[in-house]
């Protein structure tokens, strides 16, 4: 009997036991699928594409939050500011670059402009992440003995104030935006016209998440990140440098937020408080699925996008923040550790 179970494909066994153990997951999946079909019928391809774009971006942001919480136990409330920085970097790189490229007339250059801007945002984000981690969190971590989560939370809130108001002081409260990244006709997909910008944004979200997933699952450093999030002491005992992994994690999370800020520049524009909405929505996601759960954050991003889109279609645009909030409150009451739960060290300890 024992050999028989070990021969069975592991995934199906896992799935069945998980379904039995996790009624909320099953219910949420069924609900999401029904909602998705309803939205598909009523809204058609544009709505579905909308879900992929926003869902992918929430997933990108929420994965960063999940990583930072899982590895460093920081409830990161300055994550929206990384989004803001990404948007600004993309704006300041793209605008002059685009003008110059337009003057050359080369199509290749013109189409590569947005990608250069988004990559630049990612690079600036990762450097900013390293600076913030080394300057703010590393010193605190080496001194803290207890109350880390609360202290770290307060620090991130302070950081958010400084970054928002600092930007306001230097660049002013003006909106800096672009009408679109790609000045081409919308593409026709199944009878609906969808802007190329959205398709590119969806693609960037999916590719970035895919790369991150591969990195965490298949590479040595990625495994070390997961090891730290599962057992800090165990990680140190096998020779993993905690300081390095934590700086790397923070840098990754900041870079991902900056990339999403940059790829959504055409939707959000750049201004000092642009990060607030993305911050709240990415927190909805991680609270919905369980703090620190990375796989959950990816799925959760799309669930929240579904909820938003469904609310828009069936209840009304002005309700699109209300409904996710209600769902979040319900989740906190009924399943406080999130629908997928999380096995992050530290939550129980502190």
């Amino acid at each position: 009997m024992a050999t028989k179970t070990s021969e069975r494909p592991k995934i199906s066994v896992d799935l069945i036991t998980r379904m039995k153990d996790n009624l909320p997951v099953v219910l949420v999946s069924i609900f999401s699928i029904i909602l998705f079909i309803l939205i598909g019928i009523k809204g058609g391809p544009p709505q579905i594409f909308n879900i992929i774009v926003t869902g992918g971006m929430w997933a990108l942001l929420a994965t960063g939050l999940a990583l930072v919480f899982g590895v460093m136990n920081i409830p990161h409330f300055a994550h929206g500011e990384s989004f803001m920085v990404g948007a600004y970097v993309a704006y300041f790189v793209f605008t002059p670059l685009n003008q110059f490229f337009l003057s050359t007339g080369s199509k290749l250059l013109i189409y590569s402009g947005p990608f250069i801007a988004i990559i630049a945002a990612g690079l600036v984000g990762s450097v900013l992440g390293i600076i913030i981690e080394k300057l703010v969190f590393a010193p605190l971590r080496h001194r803290t003995k207890e109350g880390w989560i609360m202290n770290a939370f307060l620090l991130t809130v302070g950081l958010s104030f400084i970054l928002t108001n600092g930007t306001n002081l230097v660049l002013g409260p003006n909106f800096r935006g672009i009408p679109r990244y790609f000045d081409v006709k919308p593409v026709e997909i199944m009878g609906a016209f969808i802007a190329v910008d959205r398709i590119v944004a969806a693609g960037i979200a999916i590719v970035t998440i895919g790369i991150l997933w591969f990195f965490l699952r298949r590479t040595k450093t990625g495994r070390a990140i997961r090891a730290v999030s599962q057992d800090e002491t165990g990680a140190q005992l096998v020779g993993i440098d905690l300081d390095f992994i934590q700086t790397l994690t923070f840098s990754l999370a900041t870079a991902m937020a900056a990339i999403s800020g940059a790829s959504l520049l055409f939707m959000f524009q750049a201004y000092p408080t642009v990060g607030v909405t993305p911050l709240y929505f990415s927190w909805y996601v991680v609270m919905l699925v369980g703090l620190g759960n990375i796989a959950g954050a990816i799925v959760g991003g799309f669930i929240v996008a579904l909820l938003q889109s469904g609310t828009q279609l069936f209840i009304g645009l002005s309700w699109q923040s209300v409904v996710p909030t209600i769902v979040m409150i319900l989740v906190l009451i009924l399943a406080p550790s999130g629908i997928f739960g999380s096995e992050v060290k530290g939550i129980q300890e502190q």
Binding site: A227, Q236, V238, G239, D241
Partner: protein, 234 residues
């Protein structure tokens, strides 16, 4: 190989170790024995760098390691198998083992060690895709010891491997340690099961209330009046 000189250690305001000194020579199998709360685990945790010593010194291969962070101590060749095991419960057995070889650069060496470990613990090979958190207590101890070996350590600190195990599994774990010892790995073992421990080790130190009160070859210790009364119940 390892020398503790007048080591003082403890947690914040609670000093546990008071001037502990002992030596472990290369290739030896040493037991550290004592009642609960004597400071055995604290000793191992201090050597592994998880606790900073309050005073004294720890010398490993001629170098002081008292201010070295734990990940560097691990890379120097000291592998600590903790009482809590500290496994990565959401990862597979194989991933846990490969992380044990995190500091080993050459992939070849990693895979060779992995093969060797699977030879030593066939049970782990059968379960290599299973999540560490879903294994039984005995298997987890095996995995923790095996993970500790993946870095090809010079010295292994093993903390209470028999804790919470039924007797026949304890025997398996001891068997594994004896195999290790035959490979020339130096082992410092902390154990509650004093009788069996004295049978398999070369020398023993007795730690009571944070001080070394006695030491000597294991067979002599077994015959000692105090040890017989306090630990063997004879």
């Amino acid at each position: 190989m390892l020398e503790l000189k007048n080591l003082d250690s403890g947690y914040d305001f609670l000093q546990v170790l008071w001037g502990v000194s002992f030596e472990v020579e290369s290739g030896e199998f040493i037991a550290l024995i004592g009642p609960n709360g004597a400071g055995k685990s604290t000793t191992l945790r201090t050597i592994a760098g998880l606790i900073k010593p309050m005073g004294g010194d720890i010398i490993f291969n001629g170098k002081s390691i008292k201010n070295t962070p734990p990940h560097l101590i691990s890379r120097m060749g000291i592998s600590y198998v903790s009482e809590a095991l500290n496994l990565f419960t959401d990862m597979s057995v194989e991933e846990n083992l490969m992380l044990g070889a995190y500091a080993v650069k050459e992939r070849e060496t990693q895979l060779e060690t992995l093969d060797y470990i699977f030879e030593l613990f066939p049970r782990l090979e059968e379960r290599k895709d299973q999540l560490a958190g879903t294994m039984s207590g005995g298997e987890r101890k095996m995995l923790a010891i095996a993970r500790g070996m993946m870095s090809n350590p010079k010295l292994m600190l093993v903390d209470e491997p028999s804790l919470g195990l039924q007797p026949n599994l304890t025997y398996d774990v001891f068997e594994a340690l004896l195999k290790l010892r035959k490979q020339g790995v130096t082992i410092l073992l902390v154990e509650q099961n004093v009788n069996a421990t004295l049978d398999i080790t070369d020398r023993a130190y007795i730690l009571e209330q944070g001080k070394i009160v006695m030491s000597g070859p294991s067979q002599e210790m077994k015959a000692n009046e105090h040890v017989r009364n306090a630990y063997l119940g004879i």
